[in-house]
Every structure is written in structure tokens, then in C-alpha cells.
Symmetry: C2
């Protein structure tokens, strides 16, 4: 249709001596952001399953110290000689492309480490939000051999929940003294957290926050096979990082022990997301190119008619078919 | 197709003596949340344009005092004898339905005022997010005669931006001392703000925040016909509320003076959103009911094949058509 044919394969992302071609990788990620449809053919070519990769999500409200924590985790996995990639997602910047977070990390101690790849992403008005592009980039990074992909996302909204559904292990980072509003926010994020991190745990109120989280966890109705641990850290002083990485390792083991069902569940979820994104893109491209629809939309929108009546009319015009 | 036929008209939302039937209104909003497709036929019947309605959005990070500010605005518009509706959107609670914010307002001083309608909404796993359901509820409320619809949304993410695009006037609420992370967040939200509110302006740092916002505003590349004012408030003490409502009135005047283009632009935007939501819903329902697709999806997802290759295959199967 409008999809380009593949022009790259996996080898194209490596330099002759086997090192990753960072510049090409970065350029391809920009293509995913700017024109995801055009990138699909190459993604199909480059994609390969990487069962060993650790897909880690870090989310939480602004100001709790996620970037510092990310820095510490990079250091930890580098000390184990893992190749680490960080995707810093800034869902809040649909207009500016939100490079702020990523820049902050990039300026950190790992900037000169060739085995650490850091990339920031903002939603550049993608259809269907940031999650699909983030998934594409994550798939690309694991395909070219990164052992750890860390997705850092600021915020506690629907976008963050969507993004966190893509990874295997989700860290929800909080801190003492966030106040009432954040108490409210926590409830919605609770369900996606595999590990709770209380950062800045040297501040007053850490014990209280711990009790509150434990209480909220105990209120969960379903019996959980995995009980999210609560880990206290002071990322600026590298305190609690060992306990945190141990908790991450335990969660990975848990996932592996339930390999068949958990992995398939996560794979199904990602597949559904891709179908949803695909059909939306296809449909909107179809409408964009369809003169008869364009004519109809102009008339319907300009006529100040009842938009709900217009949608019923829309339904009568549009036809879908699955050809075997 | 699967859409129910209309069972209600506008009169059904009123009691015999002309008072609004709040219970029926609330029940219908629940239908919009739970089963938006089923509500469409009735919405088409009930909908009528209400050009006079003030559509006001309030957003900003947690803890800045949005609820208190909302309370003050309700009081102001009630003093002008306007009928006021509040939709408290909690995008962060996709699982719990997020009634927290709304509850907080509901317990406030306006709880017993029959001309104030307050409703909280959380995303209950709606396709396409919260914005479409919020738009439906907003349209319903203006159709049945509310003069002011106030949409309060916690957060600074993509969902909030989507929701704020629905209204005419957006207040972005900040406060002094939010820290670095929030500085970052502000950039993305800047573009949708029609009025900046610095709440808790009696705290240290209000002047600095004001300068920062002014600086960011001056960096905007396009020449704006409307320069967003920066209003300082202390909502808990009702300070600055008059200046704020004056700024809101000025923005309404500005919109009215550019009636033709601005209103049409906003109407086009909402229409596009409805089409996007509609086509996604139609397509996903179509796939859900299609045996051949279901068979294909089961095989493709379970076979651990390359999902990008599967999407290309998907594209070959699915066909769209616009019938005139």
C-alpha cells in the first residue's frame, strides 16, 4: 500500500569490526518517531526475538529522582558487563519532542561509555500515542543485542500505564512527602507496579509511605502470585541499589518460572497493541486518501450539524472486510 | 450495526416541573463511560449546539491546588446565577475508575447546590483513552443547558493535552517551588495554556516562576494573536479569583471576536477526534466479530513469529471501502 519495502537488515546496524553503528541506529529511531509506517518494513527485516533481554520500566511522578535512579541502574548493569539502552519517554511534550530528560541522562557519567545507548522520545503527534513508537524502539534495541532496555517515563497518567505494559518489570518510584494528590494518583498506578521504590528514603515520612503502600497492596482483591516488594533507596548516595537490583532479579526469576503463561500473556498484549495501532493507521490513511470521504467530512463538519448524527452516517458509508 | 436505536430525547432529562433529572443524567453518563457505542444514538437525539456555554479546562501537576481553585470558580459562576457542571477527570486511574478527585469536590460547599453538577470520570479501559468519553459528557451537559462546563484534569501528560483540546479556555495551574522536573514538564503544556495560573502565590518563588513562564512565552516562535496572561492566586484564601475570572472573560471575548475561524477550528478538531474514535471502534468491533481474523491472530501471536511480518500480512487481509 504505502509501506516502503525493506532496505535494511540487522547487519546494517553494525560497523565492519562488529561494533554497533550508533549513528545509523539513532537515525532509524528518528524514522520510527517521524514516520512509523515507513519504518515497518525494515523493522520486520531486523526484528529477532531476544528472550534474554531485561525489559525494565521506571515510572513515577516528577521530582522523585527517577533519573538518578536510572543512572545507578545503568552503573549496576554495566558492572555486570551488560549492554544497556535507555529510552527516556517524555509523554508530556507532544509539541516540543521532549528531549529534556534524555539530555539530562546523556550528560551524566555514562555519556562516554560506548556500551550505553541513551535516547529520549517525545510524542511527535503520533497517532495512538507514544506507546507504539516506544515498542518499536524497544524491539529494535533488543534485536540489535542490548541486554537491558530501561524505559524511563515521567508521570502517572494513561500514557505511562500504556508504556509500562510493554516491559517485563515495572518500578514505580515514589518518595516521602508527596502529599495528598499523589496519594490519589498512586491507586491507579498500583496495579502495574512489580516493585515499589521509595526513593529519598532518608526524608521524613518514609516509614509512613511504606505502611500506606503495604496497606494498599493488602487491599487488592485478587490473590497475586507475585507480591510487589517495597524497596527503600537514596539514589543520590547509591544507597539501597543492591536491594533494588536483587528485587529486579527476583522478579525476572519469577517471570521465567512462569515462562509459558506470563511470556505468552505479555506477547499477546503487545500483539494486540500492534494490531490496534495498525488498523487505526490504515483506516486514517485510507480516509486521508479517499476523495469521497474528504468531501463528506468537509460538508459534515462545516454544516454545524449534529456530530453524533454525522457519525451514524459515517458508519453507513465505511465498510470493512477481512479477505482470506 | 451494533448501535442501539435512540430511546431518549432531551425532554427525558427533565422532570415534569422543568428541573433537571439528575439521576437520569448520572445514569446516562455511566452508560457513556461503560458502553459509549450504545450511548451514541441517544446522544445524536439529545445533542444541540449551545454556543453560549463556557467550556473551561483546568489542568496542572498534582498538589498545586486545582480542586480548591475549581471550588472558587464554581462559587464565582454561581454568584452570576450560571448553571455549573464539573467533570473531574482522573486519567491516572485506568483500573479503579478514579473517583477520588470528584469525591473531594463533591464533599465541598457546593454539594447541596442543585444548580451545580459534579461528576468524576476515570478511564475504564476505553478504547482511545479518556478524551472521547469526556467529549461526549461535555456535549451532553451543554445540550441539557449547563452554562459553564469545567473540566478538571490532574496531570501533565498526553491524555491531559488531548482532553484540554476539547475546551475553549485552558487554565494551566502551577505553583512556586515545583522543582526541576516540573520545569521540564511545563514546556509541553505551554502550548495548550490560554491562561497561566500561579496558585499558592504567597509561597517563596512566585516571582521567579512568573519570570520563567514569561521567558518561555517569549521564546514561542509563532506570533500569537492571544498572549496568555499569568495570574497569581491563593485559592485557599480566595485571593486573585477576580483577576482570574476577568482573564477568562477576556479570553472568551477574544474567541468571540474571532468567532468564525476559531470556533470552526475547534469544531473541526472535535469532529476529527470523533471520526478517529469511530473508525477505531468500528474496526476493532469488526475484528472481534470476524472468525477468520480471530483464527489468523491466534496463529500469528502464538507462533512467536516476527510481529512486524505479521502486521504486513494483516495489511494484506484487511480491506476498507467508502461507499457513497
Amino acid at each position: 500500500m504505502y509501506a516502503a519495502s525493506a532496505t535494511m537488515n540487522k547487519d546494517d546496524f553494525f560497523l565492519p569490526h562488529g561494533k554497533l553503528n550508533i549513528r545509523r541506529l539513532a537515525r532509524f529511531i528518528s524514522l520510527i518517531e517521524d514516520n512509523p509506517e515507513e519504518a515497518q518494513a525494515d523493522l520486520a527485516q531486523v526484528y529477532c526475538e531476544n528472550h534474554q533481554a531485561l525489559l525494565l520500566g521506571i515510572t513515577g511522578p516528577p521530582g522523585v529522582g527517577k533519573s538518578t535512579l536510572t543512572d545507578r541502574l545503568i552503573a549496576h548493569y554495566r558492572s555486570l558487563d551488560k549492554k544497556v539502552a535507555v529510552i527516556a519517554v517524555d509523554a508530556s511534550s507532544p509539541f516540543t519532542g521532549g528531549a529534556i530528560l534524555g539530555d539530562r541522562i546523556r550528560m551524566s557519567s555514562h555519556a562516554t561509555d560506548a556500551e550505553v545507548f541513551i535516547r529520549s522520545m517525545g510524542s511527535r503527534g503520533n497517532l495512538g500515542g507514544l506507546a507504539p513508537a516506544t515498542m518499536d524502539v524497544m524491539n529494535l534495541l533488543t534485536s540489535v543485542g542490548f541486554d537491558v532496555v530501561l524505559i524511563e517515563s515521567v508521570g502517572v497518567g494513561q500514557t505511562e500505564v500504556d508504556i509500562m505494559h510493554l516491559v517485563d518489570t515495572v518500578l514505580l518510584v515514589l518518595m516521602p512527602g508527596l502529599g495528598d494528590d499523589v496519594q490519589a494518583l498512586k491507586a491507579g498506578m498500583m496495579e502495574i507496579a512489580d516493585i515499589f521504590v521509595i526513593n529519598k528514603a532518608d526524608k521524613p515520612g518514609a516509614q509512613q509511605l511504606q505502611s500506606e503502600i503495604a496497606m494498599l497492596l493488602s487491599l487488592r482483591q485478587e490473590r497475586l502470585a507475585w507480591t510487589p516488594p517495597i524497596v527503600e533507596t537514596v539514589a543520590t548516595e547509591a544507597r539501597g541499589i543492591e536491594a533494588l537490583t536483587a528485587a529486579i532479579a527476583q522478579h525476572s526469576e519469577y517471570l521465567n518460572s512462569r515462562h509459558a503463561e506470563e511470556k505468552q500473556r505479555k506477547r499477546d498484549h503487545r500483539f494486540q497493541r500492534m494490531v490496534q495501532q495498525k488498523i487505526l493507521t490504515l483506516a486514517l490513511h485510507f480516509l486521508q486518501d479517499n476523495q469521497a470521504y474528504q468531501q463528506w467530512a468537509r460538508e459534515a463538519s462545516a454544516a454545524a450539524v449534529n456530530p453524533y448524527a454525522a457519525m451514524r452516517d459515517f458508519e453507513n458509508h465505511i465498510k470493512l472486510k477481512w479477505e482470506v
